[in-house]
Amino acid sequence: MALANALRRGISTESPQTRLALRASITLAACVIALLIPQFLGDYAMSVAVTVVTYAILGLGLNVVVGYAGLLDLGYAAFFAIGAYTSALLELHFSLSFWEALPIAIVAAAVAGCIIGYPTLRLRSDYLAIVTLGFGEIVRITVTNLNVTGGPNGLYGIPPAGVFGHSIVSTNGLYYLGLFFMVLAIAFTGLLSRSRLGRAWRSLREDETASEAVGVPAIKVKLMAYVMGAIVGAIAGMLFAARFGTIDPTSFTYNTSVMILIVVIVGGMGSIPGMLLGAIIVIALPELLRSVSNYRMLFFALALVALMLVRPEGLLPPRRTRRGAYRAQPPPDEAPSSPAPAGRRRPGRGELLLQVTDVSHRFGGVRAVDGVSFDVHAGEIVSVIGPNGAGKTTVFNCITGLVTPRSGDVRLGGTRSLRGVKPHKVVRLGLARTFQGIRLFDGLDAVENCLVGLIAHQSRMLSLGGLLSRTTREDRARAMYWLDFVGLADRGHLLASELSYGERRRLEIARALMSEPQLLLLDEPAAGTNPTEKRELMSLVKQVRDTGVAVVLIEHDMGLVMELSDRVIVLDQGRIIAAGEPQQVRDDPRVIDAYLGREEDDDPDAGKSVEEVLGWRS
């Protein structure tokens, strides 16, 4: 362990080239060892090696669900079972060969992934875990009790896999077959992790609400994690059936799911080499303890606890990728928006962008928003002010789909209603936002945070081509452009959690701008910043407006609001009490009352709408 640490420290301080060379040679050595193992080990040891390979494949599959997407799955053995049973039944009853059954078993597992995932993915973390456990048990109980699956005795006489007319029955042959699929699984999951989908998973793992709010279709993306994991698990199941020629329900219990989970956690969630090491430890360690026969599982259990205490993040957690190259990369001269994405039109100045009509919402008995109406036009900065609890953030939430208002309507461009539209679709329609309490993806670097914001445009992400496509040079250039725009050009390689408070505020704005919005909603962008940072942020807001994006912001600093805004809307207790030009609003007695309190309640205009009071509506 100390050696591994020293090695890792050594790796991280070396230059990228040295690191790459070291990595390549370790990989090469591992390949050579893996290929030559049958020359040195006996038949029994080789059958253990086949099991190790099977669990490595299972670990790689579960790693997609648990490691990449951060969804705890306690019933993963269900997919292992579905692969094994589907292929066995096809081979026994329809005389299909191993290779003919393979695609069908994969489809079956993918469908099962959808069935299990779809109704349950709205659940949060641990509720989801118990449901996956339940599904795993239901699958096992079903195959135990159905006649077609052979009941508790299972199925037997499953033909072995054939390659070029040779049946693979020898342990060494099975080992190489397993190795072949393991390499495929490594390549597949490796591609997934680098793909846009992989980035969407990481963002969900970090902060689900934030990733929906920047355009990630959370449910679909989670479902894809289950489907991808299921496919890999099914392949392991097929190998298992072809290896033994017989399967029964006892191979697919909750304990199997737990063993696979241990592979993932011990190896280091999210790391591919970790899965291989995890499988070796979980399968080979109990074998090595055979000398203490009766105590071996006890020792294994204690070793597991000890291992977690010493290395809670697993043995080979994913290396933090510091891509130092960004530092040198200059931002592109040209505005990245010139090829306007997917039908996004730059609205002409003064064009109606957003129309909020009589929106109301209540939480329990509290009327948080009560009949709020206002318009936003292209090229203007509108500030929403009001005392704490006035309902400002709730108005934002109603507009961006985080909350569906009880009544009233929000229309984009005066036509398209946003009522009931999911947050990620609202972003696609051109409406981006930031949060009052900054919500970044802390475990991702600044560039990646921005790239998540790009997903709003990549709606073809779920097609097969888009799925595995890696980040293009243009994508990165675009991210760098907006990072430069907010003044973070030299911070791209840092994790969001490593940035200063003011930098985090600005990164959140850059991330929102990545979706090329027509309208940007900023919820207290300057909260908690010092006066200098505040001034910088406000000049940034002006710059954003100058690119043609309308800005609506919530802000408490009156001086800044008055200086910056084209129009000001004042909320108090869920109602608009004043609206208009900064000067006009500042002198309004109701505003002064709302902020300073009034002496007696004799407002003659109570009950009248804002429009009536101010005669304002453009």
């Binding site: 349950t120 659940l123 509720y127 339940g134 239901i138 009790n145 909750y254 956690i265 597991l304 809670p312």
Partner: protein, 299 residues
């Protein structure tokens, strides 16, 4: 009708055990967000301690009530200590580490307890001496034994005591505060480590009591008895809205009834599938369990 009543009586008995165990799951989850996989095995250890005591003293011709009390106190004391040791050694150091590490640690503890019991008591069944009377009374044709009544009443009393403790005492208030916000509770001067330890103590003591009663009532016990019942009890905890004590009690009885009716009217082979089916159906419509509160996230 007689069959229905019989299933009801049996279901309430099974439910008593499940509710007691589910309380431990829900308390521990509520306070440190851990699915304590070792909890079912703590129950099993309690059962074996009771077995050791009852087998030893049964030759002394003590009154039955005394044997039961001694066995239960011994089982509860042993599991209480065990719970504290597990928490201190395997969980406490991992509280602020990546979330799944503590889960794997719990799985390791679970396996270690099962293997320890297997090595000590063998892989087969051990039998409690049959000291409980099998007599009982009739409810509408269904037979309810005094033992069943005893299990039911005793469980209810323990649950009530726990509920009052958590709701009415300062320590209970500290536990509830801790469940809501650990850092805020610490800032308010609550000794977080000790409160977590106390939670494990209480949960484990209840599991130990359930273990001894289970042995006295069903006679046969073995080293993996905690697994199946633990799984169902955890299901009950989730069904009731995890972290919610009354929810866990009610859902414990509910799962017991579902199991009993499913055993009777369908087949015991399918009972677990029925239980999980109900759980999934409920969670689809009530994503935080029957009594769980809707969590509103502030943004």
């Amino acid at each position: 009708m007689t069959a229905f009543l019989q299933y009801l009586v049996n279901g309430l008995t099974v439910g008593s055990f499940l509710a007691l165990i589910a309380l431990g799951y829900t308390m521990i989850y509520g306070i440190i967000r851990l699915i304590n996989f070792a909890h079912g095995d703590v129950f099993m250890v309690g059962s074996f301690v009771g077995y050791a005591v009852v087998s030893t003293v049964v030759a002394q011709h003590w009154p039955i009530a005394l044997i039961i009390i001694v066995a239960m106190l011994a089982g509860m004391a042993a599991t209480g200590v065990l719970g504290i040791v597990i928490e201190g050694v395997a969980y406490q150091p991992l509280l602020n580490k990546p979330r799944l590490a503590i889960l794997i640690s719990a799985l390791g503890v679970s396996l270690a307890l099962e293997e320890g019991a297997r090595i000590q008591f063998g892989a087969g069944f051990s039998s409690y001496p049959g000291i409980l009377p099998t007599t009982g009374f009739s409810i509408g044709g269904a037979h309810a034994s005094y033992a069943q009544l005893g299990v039911f009443v005793l469980s209810l009393l323990m649950m009530l005591a726990l509920y009052l403790f958590v709701q009415r005492t300062p320590t209970g208030t500290a536990m509830r505060a801790l469940a809501m916000d650990r850092d805020a509770a610490r800032l308010m001067g609550i000794n977080v480590e000790r409160t977590i330890m106390l939670t494990f103590l209480l949960g484990s003591v209840l599991a130990g009591a359930a273990g001894v009663m289970q042995g006295l009532y069903y006679i046969q016990i073995n080293f993996i008895m905690g697994f199946a019942i633990g799984l169902r009890a955890f299901t009950a905890a989730v069904l009731g809205g995890i972290g919610n004590l009354p929810g866990a009690m009610v859902a414990g009885f509910l799962i017991g009834l579902i199991q009993s009716f499913s055993d009777g009217y369908i087949s015991s082979n399918w009972s677990d599938a029925v239980i999980f089916g109900v759980l999934i159906a409920v969670l689809i419509f009530k994503p935080t369990g029957i009594f769980g509160e809707r969590v509103v996230e502030r943004v």
